[in-house]
């Protein structure tokens, strides 16, 4: 479904991704793990079209993504839930969700979808008219995911969803991700929290300094010493 080959990205002179390749199939949860500045966010931002790549191919659903804009990619069903819960703070929860459906042509069905999101995240229903900026970090993260789902994506890119969240919320997030995958949504999860990420993913790629150093089955990797070594350098 998503096929990335030999992707190179740099910020100015700083090479951030050094020719990485990976793939993702329908209904699969794949995680990119690695320490800070390994290039996880950059990978997702490049996939979403926020960052231009130097070279490499991004094939999604058979089409080439490299040359089209972020807005077009959303239309193709590829949506990014950015790092740091970038919701619209001065809009209500309901308006935030509406924005998620901005590009859709079937705007009559939008309210039904919002209802669906509300049943998935009951907390959001309670806060429907509240200003999004006044909610807690966990609620904002739920809103950001809900807003991403409003675009009816085929593939959702999740960037560091657990950042700064309490353990109990992280657990809930893991369950939500699994449930979404069961419904057929493909998810690419970039995470620093390796235990959480490996716990809910099918497969994983380990990123370090812009290179994929290991990859494979998530269960197997969670036991592997190289994961620990990569984080702690021991």
């Amino acid at each position: 479904m998503l096929d990335v080959t030999d992707l190179n990205v740099s910020y100015g002179k700083q090479k951030v991704l050094r020719g990485i390749s990976f793939e993702l199939r329908q209904g699969e949860v794949v995680t990119l793990i690695g320490p800070n500045a390994a290039g996880k966010s950059t990978t997702l931002r490049t996939l979403a079209g926020l960052k231009r790549s130097d070279s490499g191919k991004i094939a999604f659903d058979g089409g080439d993504m490299a040359s089209i804009s972020t807005a077009e990619r959303v239309k193709c069903g590829l949506v990014l839930v950015p790092e740091g819960r970038q919701i619209f703070p001065r809009m209500s929860v309901h308006e935030n969700l509406l924005m998620g459906a901005y590009h859709r042509s079937d705007r009559d069905h939008v309210e039904d979808d919002i209802e669906r999101i509300f049943s998935m995240f009951p907390r959001l229903r309670e806060r429907s008219t509240q200003r999004a900026g006044s909610m807690s970090g966990g609620e904002q993260q739920m809103l950001a995911i809900g807003r991403g789902l409003m675009s009816r994506p085929k593939l959702m890119l999740l960037d560091e969803p657990t950042l700064g969240l309490a353990p109990i919320i992280i657990e809930e997030l893991g369950r939500i991700i699994r449930n979404l995958a069961k419904e057929g949504l493909a998810i690419l999860l970039a995470e620093q929290n390796a235990v959480m990420a490996l716990g809910c993913a099918d497969r994983a790629y380990v990123l370090q300094s812009g290179d994929i150093v290991t990859s494979g089955d998530a269960k197997r990797l969670s036991e592997a010493p190289e994961v620990k070594q990569m984080y702690l350098g021991a």
Binding site: Q86, Y102, R147
Partner: protein, 286 residues
């Protein structure tokens, strides 16, 4: 005395709503493109002259003349965005200088075409209302109501329509808006052009109340920028509030203090506000 003050306050509201409508354009353009478009003053002046031309020279009905002027100014706004402003997005100083350069071009061209002699429109709506001893020309009331309606309409559009929400969300977080599938370049152009249309409308209605000269825009854009900063850049209703506060403070100020300095009151007020609350009165930025 109290009648005088109430009268001055009402006049302040009327002038303030004119500041407000241009300040709204300043605020919208700044929120979406990161530049302060001083040329909006020139667009206002263009709107006034076009209205005068359509109404007094070509003899169109006034409403139609204003509409035509708004359309004409929007076209100029579109061309200037494509040709100039789109290259200065996000660069405040360059945007400022380009828009200032445009003012001199527009003013000079109008000056060359119509000379400095002030133009007065034939009365659009004569007569005045006398409310408890306070005399208000009917036209001023109509103009003020139109401005208020347009500002509130803009506010509603920003919160209730898809395009409006897109603009509002873009102003809060451009990147997240792009991730929702908003075509950001197109949206910016729309807002820049809409702002020039607002200025054109402001000019068209201004022409029905006061005589017009090529330099009217410069004074009003300064007031509008003051109003926008006073309110806190980015707030729609704040732009109106800032305009009215400015209008009232000038009018009341000139009751008690020498009226020759009326332009200075707003400036001193502005400096004080900026120093105490850099985000403006209604702004929530630090």
């Amino acid at each position: 005395m109290s009648q005088l003050i109430i009268g001055q306050m009402l006049n302040g509201v009327i002038v303030g709503s004119l500041y407000g409508i241009i300040a709204l354009g300043v605020t919208l353009t700044f929120g979406l493109t990161g530049i302060v478009n001083f040329a909006l003053g020139a667009f206002m002046m263009l709107g006034a002259y076009t209205t005068w031309y359509f109404y007094d020279v070509l003899g169109l009905p006034y409403a139609l003349a204003v509409l035509g002027a708004v359309c004409a100014v929007s076209v100029v706004g579109y061309v200037s965005d494509r040709a100039l402003f789109q290259f200065t997005r996000g660069n405040l100083v360059n945007g400022l200088l380009v828009s200032i350069g445009m003012i001199s071009v527009f003013e000079a061209l109008v000056l060359a075409a119509f000379t400095t002699t002030p133009k007065d429109l034939t009365y659009v709506l004569p007569g005045a209302l006398n409310i408890a001893g306070i005399i208000l020309p009917k036209i001023k009331i109509v103009v003020c109501v139109v401005f208020l309606a347009v500002i509130f309409g803009t506010y509603l559009a920003l919160t209730r329509t898809w395009l409006g929400r897109a603009a509002f969300s873009y102003a809060q977080n451009p990147e997240a808006a792009a991730l929702m599938g908003v075509h950001t370049g197109r949206l910016q152009t729309i807002v820049v052009v809409y702002s020039t249309a607002l200025a054109g409308l402001g000019g068209g209605l201004y022409a029905s109340m006061y005589s017009i000269e090529p330099t009217i825009g410069s004074g009003y854009i300064l007031k509008a920028v003051e109003a926008a900063i006073l309110a806190g850049v980015g707030s729609v209703i704040g732009a109106l509030g800032g305009g009215i506060i400015l209008g009232i403070s000038e009018n009341i100020g000139s009751v008690f203090l020498p009226s020759a300095f009326r332009d200075a009151y707003g400036l001193v007020f502005l400096i004080a506000i900026l120093l105490v609350r850099p985000g403006g009165l209604f702004g929530d930025r630090p």
